[in-house]
């Protein structure tokens, strides 16, 4: 138990994710064979001993609610504290349309913020694939006596036009902020912040009264000289998902053992909704190489360089290479798929052929039949 409260922004919908976000928001996109993106942030928080987490949602959150449920899979189903889902508080004169930025969503849950029982709050998006050492970041925050600690990666993993970059002095203090530049400048902000509850309330009020929507601009950029804003450089693996191409690329990175070791560190397990699937069965003619395969699949065909989620069926003679198959995808006998992403419960009829390209993988929407 530490003195830190988690707030997860779980409402972002990115239009460049096309079919993947047709039925869900970015945080509930399936990733890594059995997870949803939000699992990484939730698990990182829980693994740091955080017991109270608020999940800020806005629209298309049915799939997210179904996934997190009461929070019991993260041990967050608690009488006191635990997981709180925070949908928009949509009457009176409070925001009822889309959140333009994080400040809007924070203003929307201001009364919740006031009741936080911890002195410090960590803000993080629910759409990062990273196993963040939050305990360590928190300890650094206390040691440096910073007003705000912000987590950066110097590996440039996101789409520059959707990212904020920070440059910092040798003491780690933020010196400049670049919002949505054309190309990366300095280190990429993961938009994960630790600050005190009091400071959070005061910046929320400041931004509401000044009609400022963005945390990066309204707080980090505007207050960098007034406040002590410190960076924490995270050296582990980070996946960010701004486009279908990025999603595909990050997924395939999981076939690299070093990436899996960083993301799935057994000391800090990533937890997810339990589904009680049986094991995966490989048939007599199965031929599978270089792939990541979840439970409950039946593989009778050829699978090369693929990621299979739970309950996928690959019939005899089917050939898959460089594909990502979401839960319940059924690939009929003799079908051929290359560079394809099939969403949940897609049916590929026998003998069909689908070919995308590494630079433009084809995504097939949920429950489609081919």
């Amino acid at each position: 138990m530490n003195n830190l409260h988690g707030l997860v922004f779980a409402y972002r919908s990115n239009k460049d994710l096309r079919e993947l976000t047709q039925h869900r928001n970015t945080c509930s996109i399936p990733f890594g064979g059995r997870y949803r993106l939000v699992d990484f942030t939730l698990s990182s928080m829980v693994n740091a001993g955080i017991t109270d987490i608020g999940l800020i949602v806005h629209s298309s959150y049915q799939s997210l609610l179904d996934h997190v449920g009461s929070g019991k899979d993260w041990d967050l189903s608690r009488k006191h504290g635990g997981l709180r889902i925070l949908p928009p508080f949509g009457y009176a004169d409070v925001i009822s349309s889309d959140y333009y930025g994080r400040m809007d969503s924070l203003a929307g849950v201001r009364s919740y913020l006031e009741n936080i029982r911890q002195d410090y709050v960590i803000l993080a998006g629910g759409d990062l694939a990273a196993n963040l050492p939050i305990q360590e970041i928190y300890e650094q925050h206390l040691a440096t006596k910073a007003d705000i600690t912000t987590v950066v990666t110097c590996q440039n993993v996101g789409e520059p036009r959707s990212c904020t970059y920070l440059s910092s002095g040798p003491d780690g203090r933020v010196t400049d902020v670049f919002v949505h530049p054309k190309s990366p400048m300095g280190c990429e902000s993961l938009e994960v912040y630790i600050l005190s509850k009091q400071l959070l309330l005061s910046v929320v009020d400041h931004c509401t009264t000044h009609n400022i929507h963005s945390f990066s601009e309204g707080v980090i950029l505007a207050m960098k000289d007034r406040l002590h804003i410190h960076t924490y450089e995270f050296g582990g693996y980070v996946g960010r998902f701004h486009t279908v191409g990025a999603y595909y690329e990050h997924s395939m990175e999981l076939l690299d053992p070093a990436v899996r070791a960083s993301l799935f560190d057994p000391r800090f397990p990533i937890k997810t909704k339990d589904q009680s699937n049986p094991s995966t069965y490989y048939g007599l003619e199965a031929h599978t190489v270089d792939s990541l395969i979840a439970d409950g699949c039946k593989v009778e065909g050829e699978v090369d360089h693929c990621i299979l989620f739970r309950g996928v069926t690959v019939e005899k003679g089917a050939r898959l290479s460089h594909c990502i198959l979401f839960q319940g995808t059924h690939v009929g006998a003799g079908a051929t798929l290359q560079y394809a992403i099939t969403d949940k419960d897609v049916l590929i009829n026998p003998g069909r052929m689908l070919m995308g390209h590494e630079s433009y993988p084809i995504a097939i929407a949920k429950r489609s039949q081919v």
Partner: protein, 402 residues
């Protein structure tokens, strides 16, 4: 609150015939079928049959079983009304009470537990069989026939009948005789150790049996023959589905291999009758570039870079490049290093087979048939050999033989 039927699961069995596999755990907690433990089958059957109150009677090495069952959440048995309860033996007033002496004594000592729910019927189960059964259907028959005791039976080949408890029945399936391991069996209906009693009747017989000092307080040896003798109505419930006793190394290995035929026997993929288990969250398993996996079951956290054929791998198993695993069962965390060969074996939790070691071998006939067993945590050194049917409970040194 009153319950129509309460299940009592006898999970105190030592499982001594499983030897090395039950050194630290009770038999019902032995891993099975890639993701399960034996007890998951009767527990899941209860839940799928609509029975939400289950007492689990433990006695032998209960720690792992207790933490496995926990609050019953994986089986939806974490309930405010009913749910799963671990029932170890205990001492009461004036130090009354003792270890569970026999199956019937175990239930006798928990009469108060059962009485809390004031049930009409009590279902008695054991934790050493792999099967799927709808107990609700059995209960329906019990009510329809008005029996005092219904015993689930399975037809077995007549030559096997002399090793089992056999029910001799009339044309209405009413039991007129019970024979334990008869030399000349009159029928082939073997008891499956699954009983539904009308609670008022069982309660009375348990109390009477306890007064009889000569009794060994066992259902098969005492309660059932006594009830028959007193003219109570005993009925059989015929069950024709997959049912296997997994009390020996060979039968445990065999039943695991049956799970590879996903469409017959116990279909683990059937969504209408799921078998639930408590499993740690592991990432999907990784299949390497030079791996071959054929006719096998794999689950989370495994990493396979070698050859796996006709085998069942539990979570977090590693098979390094050039290693080969055939007709074997690798329990959670087992490691098979480069160039090692594992055939017709059971490698228990966290055991390590070092590079170039050979464990078990493919039998050529009945004479050299046997499953090699490497106990949990044991290390089989580089280039060491473990003979077929060997039972290894201590580390084998480099180049050694066991």
């Amino acid at each position: 609150m009153k319950k129509e039927c309460v299940a009592m699961l006898l999970a105190g069995g030592q499982g001594s015939r499983l030897k090395a596999l039950t050194r630290h755990v009770a038999k019902p907690a032995v891993p099975f079928g890639g993701k399960y433990r034996i007890i998951d089958f009767p527990l899941s059957n209860c839940v799928n049959s609509g029975i939400d109150t289950v007492g689990v009677l433990t006695q032998y090495r209960p720690l792992e079983l207790n933490s496995y069952i926990g609050n019953g959440e994986p089986w939806d048995l974490d309930r405010s009304d009913g749910g799963v309860h671990i029932l170890p033996p205990y001492l009461g007033e004036n130090e009354e009470g003792s270890w569970y002496k026999g199956t019937a004594n175990a239930i006798f000592q928990n009469i108060n537990f059962i009485d809390q729910y004031d049930p009409d019927y009590v279902l008695i189960l054991s934790g050493d069989h792999i099967y799927k059964m709808d107990y609700a259907d059995m209960l329906l028959q019990h009510k329809r026939t008005g029996a005092d005791l219904t015993i689930a039976v399975q037809e077995v080949p007549i030559e096997e009948a002399s090793r089992m408890g056999i029910m001799n029945v009339d044309e209405d399936d009413k039991v007129y005789e019970f024979e334990e391991k008869p030399k000349k069996p009159k029928s082939n209906l073997a008891s499956m150790g699954i009983y539904i009693f009308s609670w008022a009747k069982l309660r009375k017989y348990l109390i009477d049996d306890e007064k009889d000092e000569k009794s060994s307080n066992d259902f098969g040896k005492n309660i059932i023959p006594t009830m028959l003798g007193k003219g109570e109505h005993l009925h059989v419930y015929r069950f024709a589905g997959y049912w296997r006793d997994v009390g020996t190394i060979d039968s445990l290995w065999d039943a695991n291999m049956d799970m590879l035929a996903t469409d017959d026997g116990v279909n683990l993929f059937d969504d209408d009758w799921p078998i639930f288990a408590r499993t740690p969250t592991q990432p999907p398993h990784y299949v390497g570039e030079d791996a071959t996996i054929v006719h096998s079951l794999l689950t989370g956290g495994c990493s396979v870079e070698g050859e796996v054929e006709h085998s069942v791998l539990f979570h977090s198993v590693t098979v390094e490049p050039g290693a080969s695993v055939k007709y074997s069962i690798l329990m959670p965390g087992a490691v098979v290093r480069s160039g090692a060969k594992v055939d017709y074996s059971i490698v228990a939790e966290d055991a390590v087979i070092e590079a170039g070691a050979v464990v078990g071998s493919k039998p050529t006939g009945a004479d050299d048939w046997g499953i090699a067993v490497v106990a949990g945590g044991v290390k089989v050194g580089k280039n060491a050999t473990v003979a077929p049917a060997a039972m290894v409970t201590k580390n084998v040194k480099e180049g050694g033989k066991a």
